[in-house]
Protein backbone atom coordinates (compact mmCIF):
# COMPACT_ATOMS: atom_id res chain seq x y z
CA UNK A 1 0.00 0.00 0.00
CA UNK A 2 2.69 2.46 0.91
CA UNK A 3 5.75 2.88 -1.26
CA UNK A 4 9.18 4.41 -0.79
CA UNK A 5 9.38 8.05 -1.68
CA UNK A 6 11.79 7.46 -4.57
CA UNK A 7 9.24 5.13 -6.15
CA UNK A 8 6.65 7.90 -6.10
CA UNK A 9 8.39 9.37 -9.16
CA UNK A 10 7.89 8.01 -12.69
CA UNK A 11 10.81 6.99 -14.90
CA UNK A 12 10.52 10.37 -16.60
CA UNK A 13 11.01 12.06 -13.27
CA UNK A 14 7.39 13.16 -13.06
CA UNK A 15 5.60 12.71 -9.79
CA UNK A 16 2.99 9.99 -9.89
CA UNK A 17 -0.47 10.85 -8.67
CA UNK A 18 -1.11 9.40 -5.26
CA UNK A 19 -4.33 9.24 -3.34
CA UNK A 20 -4.70 9.05 0.41
CA UNK A 21 -7.64 8.07 2.55
CA UNK A 22 -8.20 7.95 6.28
CA UNK A 23 -8.52 4.43 7.64
CA UNK A 24 -11.79 3.47 9.23
CA UNK A 25 -10.00 1.54 11.96
CA UNK A 26 -8.84 4.65 13.77
CA UNK A 27 -10.35 7.16 16.14
CA UNK A 28 -9.35 10.76 15.52
CA UNK A 29 -10.11 14.05 17.16
CA UNK A 30 -8.82 17.60 16.84
CA UNK A 31 -7.38 19.20 19.97
CA UNK A 32 -6.41 22.81 19.40
CA UNK A 33 -4.17 22.90 16.33
CA UNK A 34 -3.32 19.23 16.55
CA UNK A 35 -5.06 16.02 15.62
CA UNK A 36 -4.81 12.96 17.80
CA UNK A 37 -5.28 9.58 16.20
CA UNK A 38 -5.51 6.22 17.88
CA UNK A 39 -5.39 2.93 16.06
CA UNK A 40 -8.20 0.67 17.10
CA UNK A 41 -6.08 -2.30 16.07
CA UNK A 42 -3.16 -1.88 18.45
CA UNK A 43 -4.05 1.28 20.44
CA UNK A 44 -0.99 3.09 19.07
CA UNK A 45 -1.29 6.85 19.34
CA UNK A 46 -0.26 9.58 16.89
CA UNK A 47 -0.33 13.35 17.14
CA UNK A 48 -0.36 15.41 13.97
CA UNK A 49 0.72 19.04 13.87
CA UNK A 50 -1.25 21.72 12.07
CA UNK A 51 0.07 21.03 8.55
CA UNK A 52 -0.15 17.27 8.94
CA UNK A 53 -3.68 17.73 10.26
CA UNK A 54 -4.57 19.66 7.10
CA UNK A 55 -3.46 16.70 4.98
CA UNK A 56 -5.23 14.22 7.23
CA UNK A 57 -8.49 16.13 7.11
CA UNK A 58 -8.35 16.34 3.32
CA UNK A 59 -7.44 12.68 2.80
CA UNK A 60 -10.72 11.68 1.21
CA UNK A 61 -9.34 9.07 -1.19
CA UNK A 62 -10.28 10.97 -4.34
CA UNK A 63 -8.26 14.20 -4.12
CA UNK A 64 -4.66 13.68 -5.32
CA UNK A 65 -2.05 14.23 -2.63
CA UNK A 66 -0.34 16.86 -4.76
CA UNK A 67 -3.57 18.84 -4.96
CA UNK A 68 -4.09 18.55 -1.22
CA UNK A 69 -0.59 19.85 -0.58
CA UNK A 70 -1.00 22.79 -2.95
CA UNK A 71 -4.44 23.78 -1.71
CA UNK A 72 -4.26 22.94 1.99
CA UNK A 73 -0.57 23.29 2.85
CA UNK A 74 1.21 25.64 0.43
CA UNK A 75 -1.68 28.08 0.31
CA UNK A 76 -2.20 28.27 4.05
CA UNK A 77 1.28 27.79 5.48
CA UNK A 78 3.56 29.70 3.08
CA UNK A 79 5.77 26.77 2.19
CA UNK A 80 7.34 25.86 -1.17
CA UNK A 81 5.66 23.09 -3.11
CA UNK A 82 8.70 20.82 -3.38
CA UNK A 83 9.49 21.02 0.30
CA UNK A 84 5.84 20.54 1.22
CA UNK A 85 5.54 17.51 -1.05
CA UNK A 86 8.65 15.91 0.43
CA UNK A 87 7.24 16.34 3.92
CA UNK A 88 3.81 15.12 2.81
CA UNK A 89 5.25 11.99 1.18
CA UNK A 90 7.18 11.19 4.34
CA UNK A 91 4.08 11.75 6.45
CA UNK A 92 1.73 9.60 4.39
CA UNK A 93 4.28 6.80 4.08
CA UNK A 94 4.75 6.81 7.84
CA UNK A 95 1.03 6.81 8.56
CA UNK A 96 0.44 4.12 5.94
CA UNK A 97 3.04 1.90 7.57
CA UNK A 98 0.96 2.02 10.75
CA UNK A 99 -2.25 1.30 8.88
CA UNK A 100 -3.98 4.51 9.77
CA UNK A 101 -3.84 5.99 6.27
CA UNK A 102 -4.40 4.22 2.96
CA UNK A 103 -2.23 5.22 -0.01
CA UNK A 104 -2.83 4.23 -3.61
CA UNK A 105 -1.92 5.21 -7.17
CA UNK A 106 -5.62 5.35 -8.00
CA UNK A 107 -8.62 6.88 -6.23
CA UNK A 108 -9.65 4.94 -3.16
CA UNK A 109 -13.31 4.11 -2.80
CA UNK A 110 -15.34 2.78 0.08
CA UNK A 111 -14.55 -0.81 -0.86
CA UNK A 112 -10.84 -0.43 -0.15
Amino acid sequence: MSEPMNEAMSEQGERKQRYVKRSRTVAARTLGDETMIMSALDSSLFTLNETASAIWNAADGVTPLEQIVEQRVCADFAVETEEAMRDAEELVNNLAQHGILMVSDSPIGEAV
Binding site: L31, E34, M36, M38, A40, L41
Partner: protein, 284 residues
Protein backbone atom coordinates in the same frame (compact mmCIF):
# COMPACT_ATOMS: atom_id res chain seq x y z
CA UNK B 1 -21.87 -5.13 50.61
CA UNK B 2 -24.90 -7.25 51.28
CA UNK B 3 -24.65 -10.96 51.69
CA UNK B 4 -27.24 -13.63 52.22
CA UNK B 5 -25.66 -16.73 53.63
CA UNK B 6 -28.44 -19.05 52.46
CA UNK B 7 -28.01 -18.04 48.85
CA UNK B 8 -24.28 -17.33 49.16
CA UNK B 9 -24.39 -14.15 47.19
CA UNK B 10 -22.45 -10.95 47.61
CA UNK B 11 -23.36 -7.65 46.01
CA UNK B 12 -20.45 -5.30 45.37
CA UNK B 13 -21.15 -1.71 44.39
CA UNK B 14 -18.36 0.34 42.87
CA UNK B 15 -18.84 3.60 41.02
CA UNK B 16 -22.60 3.28 41.22
CA UNK B 17 -22.58 -0.13 39.51
CA UNK B 18 -23.44 -3.34 41.29
CA UNK B 19 -21.93 -6.72 40.51
CA UNK B 20 -23.54 -9.72 42.18
CA UNK B 21 -21.31 -12.67 42.93
CA UNK B 22 -22.76 -16.14 43.47
CA UNK B 23 -19.98 -17.62 45.53
CA UNK B 24 -19.26 -21.34 45.98
CA UNK B 25 -18.99 -21.61 49.75
CA UNK B 26 -18.92 -19.80 53.08
CA UNK B 27 -15.15 -19.41 53.08
CA UNK B 28 -15.22 -17.64 49.74
CA UNK B 29 -18.10 -15.47 50.92
CA UNK B 30 -16.16 -14.35 54.00
CA UNK B 31 -13.13 -13.58 51.86
CA UNK B 32 -15.19 -11.38 49.54
CA UNK B 33 -17.02 -9.74 52.45
CA UNK B 34 -13.74 -8.77 54.04
CA UNK B 35 -12.24 -7.38 50.89
CA UNK B 36 -15.23 -5.31 49.76
CA UNK B 37 -16.76 -4.47 53.13
CA UNK B 38 -17.06 -0.77 52.38
CA UNK B 39 -18.66 -1.23 48.98
CA UNK B 40 -22.17 -2.62 49.33
CA UNK B 41 -24.21 -3.03 46.18
CA UNK B 42 -27.87 -3.00 45.41
CA UNK B 43 -28.72 -6.52 44.31
CA UNK B 44 -32.01 -5.50 42.76
CA UNK B 45 -30.33 -3.65 39.93
CA UNK B 46 -27.08 -5.57 39.53
CA UNK B 47 -25.38 -4.84 36.25
CA UNK B 48 -24.27 -8.45 36.11
CA UNK B 49 -24.46 -11.70 38.02
CA UNK B 50 -21.35 -13.84 38.14
CA UNK B 51 -21.33 -17.49 39.13
CA UNK B 52 -17.99 -18.32 40.69
CA UNK B 53 -16.70 -21.86 40.39
CA UNK B 54 -13.66 -22.96 42.30
CA UNK B 55 -10.96 -24.68 40.33
CA UNK B 56 -8.82 -27.46 41.73
CA UNK B 57 -5.12 -26.76 41.89
CA UNK B 58 -4.80 -28.03 38.34
CA UNK B 59 -7.85 -28.80 36.19
CA UNK B 60 -8.20 -32.48 35.46
CA UNK B 61 -11.53 -32.72 33.69
CA UNK B 62 -11.80 -31.65 30.13
CA UNK B 63 -15.20 -31.52 28.54
CA UNK B 64 -16.37 -30.26 25.19
CA UNK B 65 -17.27 -26.81 26.44
CA UNK B 66 -14.84 -24.16 25.27
CA UNK B 67 -14.39 -22.65 28.70
CA UNK B 68 -13.41 -25.96 30.22
CA UNK B 69 -10.94 -26.47 27.41
CA UNK B 70 -9.37 -23.15 28.27
CA UNK B 71 -9.19 -24.12 31.94
CA UNK B 72 -7.01 -27.03 31.01
CA UNK B 73 -4.72 -24.73 29.09
CA UNK B 74 -4.45 -22.07 31.79
CA UNK B 75 -0.89 -20.89 32.19
CA UNK B 76 -0.17 -19.56 35.71
CA UNK B 77 2.06 -16.85 34.24
CA UNK B 78 -0.30 -15.78 31.47
CA UNK B 79 -1.10 -12.06 31.26
CA UNK B 80 -4.62 -10.71 31.09
CA UNK B 81 -6.37 -11.32 27.79
CA UNK B 82 -9.80 -9.91 26.97
CA UNK B 83 -11.65 -10.53 23.75
CA UNK B 84 -15.18 -10.68 22.44
CA UNK B 85 -16.95 -13.48 20.62
CA UNK B 86 -20.33 -12.16 19.52
CA UNK B 87 -22.03 -10.83 22.63
CA UNK B 88 -19.77 -12.76 24.98
CA UNK B 89 -16.65 -11.25 26.53
CA UNK B 90 -13.90 -13.67 27.47
CA UNK B 91 -11.45 -12.76 30.21
CA UNK B 92 -8.44 -14.86 31.07
CA UNK B 93 -5.31 -14.63 33.12
CA UNK B 94 -3.02 -17.28 34.49
CA UNK B 95 -5.17 -17.66 37.61
CA UNK B 96 -8.70 -17.47 36.18
CA UNK B 97 -10.91 -17.62 33.14
CA UNK B 98 -14.24 -15.86 32.93
CA UNK B 99 -17.09 -15.06 30.59
CA UNK B 100 -19.48 -12.13 30.66
CA UNK B 101 -22.50 -11.47 28.50
CA UNK B 102 -23.52 -7.82 29.08
CA UNK B 103 -26.77 -8.23 27.17
CA UNK B 104 -27.89 -11.02 29.49
CA UNK B 105 -26.13 -9.52 32.52
CA UNK B 106 -24.71 -12.93 33.28
CA UNK B 107 -21.21 -14.24 33.66
CA UNK B 108 -19.08 -17.01 35.05
CA UNK B 109 -15.70 -17.01 36.75
CA UNK B 110 -13.53 -20.08 37.28
CA UNK B 111 -10.70 -19.48 39.68
CA UNK B 112 -8.87 -20.89 42.63
CA UNK B 113 -9.53 -19.82 46.21
CA UNK B 114 -7.93 -16.38 46.25
CA UNK B 115 -9.16 -12.76 46.35
CA UNK B 116 -7.02 -11.50 43.47
CA UNK B 117 -8.75 -13.26 40.59
CA UNK B 118 -12.20 -11.86 41.27
CA UNK B 119 -10.62 -8.46 41.95
CA UNK B 120 -9.04 -8.50 38.49
CA UNK B 121 -12.33 -9.58 36.91
CA UNK B 122 -14.11 -6.69 38.63
CA UNK B 123 -11.57 -4.21 37.27
CA UNK B 124 -11.96 -5.55 33.75
CA UNK B 125 -15.74 -5.64 33.91
CA UNK B 126 -15.85 -2.06 35.13
CA UNK B 127 -13.51 -0.87 32.36
CA UNK B 128 -15.68 -2.61 29.77
CA UNK B 129 -18.92 -1.32 31.27
CA UNK B 130 -17.64 2.25 31.50
CA UNK B 131 -16.43 2.11 27.92
CA UNK B 132 -19.68 0.58 26.69
CA UNK B 133 -21.76 3.17 28.45
CA UNK B 134 -19.43 5.99 27.43
CA UNK B 135 -17.93 8.78 29.42
CA UNK B 136 -15.82 7.00 31.98
CA UNK B 137 -12.73 4.96 32.67
CA UNK B 138 -10.45 3.51 35.31
CA UNK B 139 -7.07 5.15 35.46
CA UNK B 140 -3.81 4.47 37.26
CA UNK B 141 -4.14 7.32 39.71
CA UNK B 142 -4.48 8.01 43.38
CA UNK B 143 -7.41 10.26 44.23
CA UNK B 144 -8.68 12.16 47.20
CA UNK B 145 -11.41 14.61 48.14
CA UNK B 146 -10.59 17.88 49.79
CA UNK B 147 -13.00 20.76 50.37
CA UNK B 148 -15.66 18.91 48.39
CA UNK B 149 -13.46 18.58 45.31
CA UNK B 150 -11.75 15.47 43.98
CA UNK B 151 -8.12 15.53 42.87
CA UNK B 152 -6.48 12.81 40.83
CA UNK B 153 -2.76 12.03 40.93
CA UNK B 154 -1.83 9.96 37.93
CA UNK B 155 1.36 8.17 37.06
CA UNK B 156 2.94 4.86 36.33
CA UNK B 157 4.19 2.56 39.03
CA UNK B 158 6.79 4.40 41.10
CA UNK B 159 5.55 7.87 40.19
CA UNK B 160 4.40 8.51 43.74
CA UNK B 161 0.69 7.61 43.91
CA UNK B 162 1.02 5.80 47.21
CA UNK B 163 3.50 8.35 48.55
CA UNK B 164 1.20 11.31 47.97
CA UNK B 165 -1.65 9.31 49.46
CA UNK B 166 0.37 8.69 52.60
CA UNK B 167 1.15 12.41 52.83
CA UNK B 168 -2.54 13.42 52.64
CA UNK B 169 -3.67 15.62 55.54
CA UNK B 170 -6.45 14.67 57.92
CA UNK B 171 -9.06 16.74 56.11
CA UNK B 172 -8.54 14.82 52.87
CA UNK B 173 -10.62 11.73 52.12
CA UNK B 174 -8.67 9.11 50.22
CA UNK B 175 -10.55 7.46 47.35
CA UNK B 176 -7.73 5.13 46.28
CA UNK B 177 -3.96 5.04 46.12
CA UNK B 178 -3.91 3.01 42.90
CA UNK B 179 -6.95 2.89 40.59
CA UNK B 180 -9.28 5.86 40.26
CA UNK B 181 -12.83 5.49 39.03
CA UNK B 182 -13.91 8.33 36.71
CA UNK B 183 -17.39 8.89 35.31
CA UNK B 184 -18.90 11.67 33.27
CA UNK B 185 -21.56 13.66 35.16
CA UNK B 186 -23.28 16.59 33.54
CA UNK B 187 -20.68 18.96 32.14
CA UNK B 188 -17.88 17.53 34.25
CA UNK B 189 -16.52 14.34 35.74
CA UNK B 190 -16.89 12.65 39.11
CA UNK B 191 -14.35 10.48 40.95
CA UNK B 192 -15.58 7.55 43.02
CA UNK B 193 -13.79 5.70 45.76
CA UNK B 194 -12.64 2.19 44.92
CA UNK B 195 -11.53 -0.88 46.84
CA UNK B 196 -8.65 -1.26 44.38
CA UNK B 197 -5.66 -0.52 46.57
CA UNK B 198 -1.98 -0.28 45.82
CA UNK B 199 0.93 -0.43 48.23
CA UNK B 200 -1.18 1.30 50.86
CA UNK B 201 -3.22 -1.91 51.07
CA UNK B 202 -6.25 0.08 52.24
CA UNK B 203 -9.49 0.40 50.31
CA UNK B 204 -10.62 3.92 49.51
CA UNK B 205 -13.64 5.61 51.03
CA UNK B 206 -16.88 4.82 49.22
CA UNK B 207 -17.75 8.42 48.40
CA UNK B 208 -17.66 10.63 45.33
CA UNK B 209 -16.99 14.21 44.33
CA UNK B 210 -16.63 16.34 41.19
CA UNK B 211 -13.10 16.24 39.82
CA UNK B 212 -11.32 19.55 40.14
CA UNK B 213 -7.90 18.72 38.67
CA UNK B 214 -5.92 15.80 37.29
CA UNK B 215 -2.29 16.04 38.35
CA UNK B 216 0.40 14.18 36.44
CA UNK B 217 2.88 13.14 39.10
CA UNK B 218 6.61 13.74 38.92
CA UNK B 219 9.07 13.61 41.79
CA UNK B 220 11.58 16.44 42.08
CA UNK B 221 13.53 18.71 44.43
CA UNK B 222 10.61 21.02 45.21
CA UNK B 223 6.84 21.13 45.32
CA UNK B 224 5.33 22.97 42.38
CA UNK B 225 2.50 22.87 39.90
CA UNK B 226 3.14 23.60 36.22
CA UNK B 227 0.86 23.84 33.24
CA UNK B 228 0.81 21.16 30.57
CA UNK B 229 1.99 22.48 27.21
CA UNK B 230 -1.00 21.38 25.16
CA UNK B 231 -4.25 19.45 25.42
CA UNK B 232 -2.73 16.72 23.28
CA UNK B 233 0.14 16.27 25.75
CA UNK B 234 -2.41 15.98 28.55
CA UNK B 235 -4.41 13.47 26.51
CA UNK B 236 -1.33 11.38 25.74
CA UNK B 237 -0.40 11.27 29.41
CA UNK B 238 -3.92 10.32 30.42
CA UNK B 239 -4.25 7.62 27.76
CA UNK B 240 -0.98 6.05 28.90
CA UNK B 241 -2.49 5.54 32.34
CA UNK B 242 -6.02 4.46 31.49
CA UNK B 243 -6.73 0.82 32.21
CA UNK B 244 -7.95 -0.91 29.13
CA UNK B 245 -7.59 -4.55 28.32
CA UNK B 246 -9.61 -5.25 25.19
CA UNK B 247 -8.38 -4.74 21.65
CA UNK B 248 -11.86 -4.09 20.40
CA UNK B 249 -12.16 -1.37 17.78
CA UNK B 250 -15.43 0.08 19.02
CA UNK B 251 -14.37 0.16 22.64
CA UNK B 252 -10.94 1.59 21.86
CA UNK B 253 -12.72 4.35 19.99
CA UNK B 254 -14.97 5.05 22.97
CA UNK B 255 -12.10 5.15 25.47
CA UNK B 256 -10.15 7.45 23.20
CA UNK B 257 -13.06 9.85 22.93
CA UNK B 258 -13.71 9.72 26.66
CA UNK B 259 -10.09 10.59 27.41
CA UNK B 260 -10.04 13.50 25.00
CA UNK B 261 -13.35 14.77 26.29
CA UNK B 262 -11.99 14.58 29.83
CA UNK B 263 -8.91 16.73 29.11
CA UNK B 264 -11.12 19.36 27.51
CA UNK B 265 -13.34 19.59 30.59
CA UNK B 266 -10.97 19.00 33.49
CA UNK B 267 -7.73 20.93 34.12
CA UNK B 268 -4.67 18.72 33.75
CA UNK B 269 -1.44 19.92 35.38
CA UNK B 270 1.92 18.53 36.33
CA UNK B 271 2.60 18.20 40.04
CA UNK B 272 6.27 17.91 40.90
CA UNK B 273 6.76 17.00 44.52
CA UNK B 274 9.26 15.79 47.04
CA UNK B 275 8.24 13.40 49.78
CA UNK B 276 6.99 16.16 52.04
CA UNK B 277 3.47 16.78 53.35
CA UNK B 278 3.74 20.45 52.36
CA UNK B 279 2.86 19.41 48.82
CA UNK B 280 -0.74 19.34 50.00
CA UNK B 281 -0.59 23.08 50.65
CA UNK B 282 -0.79 23.38 46.86
CA UNK B 283 -3.87 21.18 46.63
CA UNK B 284 -7.12 22.63 47.89
Amino acid sequence: MTATAERLTADIGIGGMTVRLHVPDEAFLRMVEDRYAGFPGSGDDAECDFDIELLPERPTEIDSVGMADRDAEMDPDEDVRVWREGEMWNLTRGDFCAEWNPAERRGRIRQSMNPYSVDCVLRIVHTLALARNGGGFLVHAASAIRNGKAFLFSGVSGAGKTTISRLAPGDATLLTDEISYVRRAGEGYVAYGTPFAGELAEPGANVQAPIDTLFLLAQGPENRITEIASPSEAARALLRNILFFAHDAELVNRVFRAALDFVQRVPVKRLTFMPDERVWELIE
